[in-house]
Amino acid sequence: MAALEEEFTLSSVVLGAGPDGLLGVEHSDKTDQFLVTDSGRTVILYKLSDQKTLGSWSVKQGQIITCPAVCNFQTGEYIVVHDNKVLRIWNSEDVNLDKVFKATLSAEVYRIHSIQGTEPLVLFKEGAVRGLEALLAEPQQKIETVISNEEVIKMYCMFLIIFFHGNYFAYVQTFHSRVLSKYTLLLGQEEKVVIQSFTASVDRKFISLMSLSSDGCIHETLIPIRPTDPEKNQRVVRSLLLKAVVSGNARNGVALTVLDQDHVAVLGSPLPASKECISIWNIKFQTLQISKELPQGTSGQLWYYGENLFMLHGKFLTVIPYKCEVSSLAGALGKLKHSQDPGTHVTPHFVNWETSQGCGLGCQNSEQSRRIVSLVIEIEISLILLFQKDSEKHIEVELRKFLAMKQTPDFHAIIGDIVTGLLERCKAEPSFCPRNCLIQLIQTHVLSYSLCPGLMEVALQKTDVQLLQLCLQQFPDIPESVTCACLKLFLSIGDDCLQETDVNMESVSDYSGTAQDEKMEEQTKILQNGFNPKEDNCSNCDQELNEKPQDTTKETISCPVIPKRAALLNAILHSAYSETFLLPHLKDIPAQHITLFLQYLYFLYLKCSENATMTLPGIHPPTLNQIMDWICLLLDANFTVVVMIPEAKRLLINLYKFVKSQISVYSELNKIEVSFRELQKLNQEKNNRGLYSIEVLELF
């Protein structure tokens, strides 16, 4: 996620910025010092961290600065051009620009380009480029014309020059080889589109040229750094990156700049009527990361150095520090819980970008939404205040009022804040337990573990299994250690404690509730048609099992845990996990609990195998894969312990026999597959293996 921090204005003095804004903001040789050139006569050196002016220089009345001042990083001197042809070089000790070094050139300068590590380059309006030293050695040297007369330099960035003459042309000149290559930028169908802003970034092979068109779209054009054929006029095609970032008819200019490989900053108004905004977009996921309104208007110019964005806000030079984190899909969307059960209601567990984008895109009435936002914030503040002192009852009422309101873009963040507030009070005041509030908040479906990490911790402390079950069902991103702690609690909590709780039982159907005798007998009969380990005659190892067949059947049939515990365990089965992180925690669970859980899982498996589709009855039951994965995990983690426990012996034998029978089934299937393949081959041969045929074939 990207973030725009609190802005600050650099100068208390109103700059002499004309309607075109500033000439430029350039980095100085010292960190956080910047040269700001206004479009009149003044160059100012600012120190950003102190927010103060270090120096200011002006040219004489009647002269006008035509090219922004830059710093020569090799010498630490500053360079500026006034009246198109007059070059001035000075350092920070100099006071008067009239007395400093002066060189009058033979052609008009467009820009001076200076980057760390090399000498500055001078770009002339006719397109020629000279190194500063070579130029100063002979200031009156003849400057050749590179571009034709009709072409005008529109924009320039790094070593790329954009010319406009009907079409857009990009000239790429590499400094060392002095090879100039020309590229025509093809704009595609939309004839009327005018490119309003360019920005470029370079990687090893390509210059990525991004353009912001008047229709508000950002396009990317890749230009090779090493041209294949410098003589020819080459054409490059652009591809669409983002659509409708700013509105087409901005009053002032719009600006675009690349922040890093994934982020761009865009300056402009998102809606035709709205105020201008500075926004950061993620190109990779095409999402708006953050946006900030600039109500006093801008000049449509945007610079960035380090982690600061510079722009003219009203009459003042404004600096907005920003942060862009490396973007990942998980970061952009949040981790999605795996669920493919038919009865599940799909709720987005991640931030809904559409709504926040919609704000900027005019899908909603922005005025109305803004009002709601402010209202919500007000209520939030009052709620948080309430939490500090009020009674549970009152908080609950207020919260219900709040939740009844329409959801706003940052609803999830507000909910997160509320929960955090509640939890803080919980911790401070052990008697305070707003269970109903928390349950309500969890049921908003917008919370996640990372938004309120303390919630489950508190629930675990208070052994509030209902809350934990809810969290397990709702949160997509519970760490494995917490899942395991929940499992531990669910297995160890006493039956009588459970009976008192109000656990959601929808994942447990009547199967587990029937420990009664009369129903059991019916089920025994049903079972005999399905899978029954007793009939598996391949093993002689378990004499114990053969001795007491009646017992075995009974045990396989009755659920080893009470329904409420089953419901809690099902919630665990449904939660997302990664094996590597889960395994170490599973080792901490006591052996008798492991056995119990295994017995329950085995029971679920037997239930599964009763029908052909291998599913359990009920709403949202655990799937066969989940059951199998958990059995494997538990055995992996605790085999050496479980194998020593006498109670687990029968269970292990059953599991062993189950695996053995699976293997024999698969080997049988493999045998069938071979013959089946042969049959298929025979079939194919019959179809197309005549010795002679006449066929019609179309060859391209």
């Binding site: 002679y692 006449i694 066929e695 019609v696 074939l697 179309e698 060859l699 391209f700």
Partner: protein, 626 residues
């Protein structure tokens, strides 16, 4: 391009013969392969593994051993007891010499290449001196009890290891006497077999003898003491062949289970100087017995009863990871075995000992792309022509009019006239062939079937006028003075005025048939020609080379055409160049002069000269042939 009615002919059930021996020549990077029918083929490994020469087989000449000696001279020996040297220029047998020891089972050339050693059925090991134009018997070594199945020289040339039945003998070359007899264990997986045949031996410079035997063992012996050093049991069946790399750091063995195993001499631990032989990689590229293996510096070569020649590059020895690093499997000969009579829709199939003549079926139906049309008439097998004598057929051809069939063996040339009366066919052999038409490497009829062009193995080209039931010799183009290189490929222009002929190495020569003189020579190219054809109307000669390059040369202008130059400048698409099977036939679309039709053993493709850039791409459609 449009739609074609494609006759899919699958009744040409040509089965190549199994491979008996391979011999790799490091000097010229060529591989000699002998097959069970006596055919000897020479593959140029530098020229994209092209089979550039072949010597036709002979029923009585079952080759059991093949070796290069004295530089680039090729010798074979077989069960008829003869040692044969091949003439690699004229492509015939130079001489055959009886070794007088009964069937010969093994042969090897001395490290210096000046002597030849054969192991015979009667247990004798005979040493021959190689003279510049022949070989000369020198002496016998101590006679052994039973047949000598394998032989190997010590790299210094002083000792010889000979594998026999149940034992290996080590001879001193100077005295010719046996120094050691090393008895091979008959035990096989605990069961005593009747006999243990030592199929192969290899003598290393440190005195180690490696043997492979019918009990599935690879054994290492110390020849100085005559003791067994190490034994690897690698197969449940016979290990039939062994070949050692020149550096003696790796060797390869082939088993009767179709597996080959790679052994390498590797340090026992890293950084240690002590090395031992380790079985490193097994390869299973064969379905049947691997009768023979060879070890080139960069590849393991194997061949066997399943008729495939497999060249498996050793990845650690390949410097550039290009297409040469890919596995090659060569099954079919790199030459045309089918000729076609366009007028009568006849196909002539050439087998080793007979010819088959088939008439294509017909259909009246039409259909769209991908349809199989119902046949109104099925294909007919018209004729089955068996050759007389034990020799294999070298080449054959049917005239475009379908009235003539010509074929040749190594010593006889046959010309037959076919008469068609309704559904009956009568065949009449033209007798009394002239003496110079003894054998032919390539036969071609002119488009109007009035002339016959014969490339004889003496390097000369004969033009014969065909008349009703008889013929007249018109002219013979003699080879350029000093060369005896045989011409293997012929092409005649459809108007009958130009004849192009190509040998194995020199460039393509173009003769003016009307004026009976040499017209020009196409500049020689590094890679051998695999197919030739002259386009109608333009008389452009299209030449395909074994490196997959295709050239077009204008005969009237005596220069490469504009298209050919453009193509050479741009280069072919890499996928086209990466194909591993040479083009064996070039033809033209009668109505579309811009199209060139090409095919190899696995695909058929069309080059459209009008689309220069896209023609460099691999063709979209390809048909399975053969």
């Amino acid at each position: 391009m449009g739609e074609f009615k494609v006759h899919r002919v699958r009744f040409f059930n040509y089965v190549p013969s199994g491979i008996r021996c391979v011999a790799y020549n490091n000097q010229s990077n060529r591989l000699a392969v002998s097959r069970t029918d006596g055919t000897v083929e020479i593959y140029n490994l530098s020229a994209n593994y092209f089979q550039e020469k072949f010597f036709p087989g002979h029923e009585s000449r079952a080759t059991e051993a093949l070796c290069w000696a004295a530089g680039q001279r090729l010798f074979s020996a077989g069960l008829n007891g003869e040692i044969i040297e091949y003439d690699l220029q004229a492509l015939n047998v130079k001489y055959a010499m009886d070794a007088f020891g009964g069937p010969i089972w093994s042969m090897t050339a001395s490290p210096s290449g000046s002597q030849l050693l054969v192991g015979c059925e009667d247990g004798s090991v005979k040493l021959f001196q190689i003279t510049p134009d022949k070989i000369q018997f020198e002496r016998n070594f101590d006679r052994q009890k039973s047949r000598i199945l394998s032989l190997s020289w010590h790299p210094s040339g002083t000792h010889i290891a000979a594998g026999s039945i149940d034992y290996i003998s080590v001879f001193d070359v100077k005295s010719g006497s046996t120094i050691h007899k090393m008895i091979v264990d008959r035990q096989y997986m605990g069961v005593s077999k009747r006999k243990c045949i030592v199929w192969g031996v290899a003598f290393l410079s440190d005195g180690t003898v490696i043997s492979v035997d019918s009990a599935g063992k690879v054994q290492f012996w110390d020849s100085a003491t005559g003791t067994l050093v190490k034994s690897h049991l690698i197969a449940n069946a016979d290990v039939q062949s062994i070949a050692v790399a020149d550096q003696e750091d790796s060797f390869v063995v082939g088993t009767a289970e179709g597996t080959i195993f790679h052994f390498q001499l590797l340090p026992v631990t890293s950084n240690s100087n002590e090395k031992q032989w380790v079985r490193t990689k097994p390869f299973q590229h064969h379905t049947h017995d691997v009768r023979t293996v060879a070890h080139s510096p960069t590849a393991l070569i194997s061949g066997g009863t399943d008729t495939h020649l497999v060249i498996r590059p050793l990845m650690e020895k390949v410097e550039v990871k290009n297409y040469d690093a890919a596995l090659r499997k060569i099954t079919f000969p790199h030459r045309r075995l089918i000729s076609c009579s366009k007028k009568r829709q006849l196909l002539l199939f050439q087998f080793t000992h007979h010819l088959e003549l088939w008439r294509l079926g017909s259909t009246v139906a039409t259909g769209k792309n991908g349809d199989t049309l119902p046949l109104s008439k099925n294909a007919d097998h018209l004729l089955h022509l068996k050759t007389k004598g034990p020799e294999n057929i070298i080449c054959s051809s049917i005239s475009p009019c379908g009235n003539w069939i010509a074929y040749s063996t190594a010593s006889r040339f046959f010309l037959c006239r076919l008469n068609y009366e309704h559904d009956n066919i009568s065949l009449k052999r033209v007798s009394k062939m002239p003496a110079f038409l003894r054998s032919a490497l390539q036969i071609l009829f002119s488009e109007d079937s009035t002339k016959l062009f014969v490339a004889s193995n003496q390097g000369s080209l004969h033009i014969v006028q065909l008349l009703e039931g008889s013929f007249k010799h018109l002219h013979a183009f003699q080879p350029l003075s000093g060369t005896v290189e045989a011409m293997c490929l012929l092409a005649v222009s459809p108007d009958g005025s130009w004849l192009a002929a190509s040998g194995t190495s020199a460039g393509v020569r173009v003769y003016n048939v009307k004026q009976l003189k040499l017209h020009c020579t196409v500049p020689a190219y590094n890679f051998p020609v695999t197919a030739l054809a002259i386009a109608p109307d333009t008389n452009n000669l299209v030449i395909a080379h074994s490196d997959q390059q295709v050239f077009e040369y204008s005969i009237p202008d005596k220069q490469y055409t504009e298209w050919s130059r453009t193509v050479q400048k741009q280069g072919f698409h890499h996928l086209w160049l990466q194909r591993d099977t040479p083009i064996t036939h070039i033809s033209f679309h009668p109505k579309r002069p811009m199209h060139i039709l090409l095919h190899d053993a696995y695909m058929f493709c069309i080059i459209d000269k009008s689309l220069v850039s896209s023609s460099l791409l691999p063709p979209e459609s390809s048909l399975e042939s053969l």
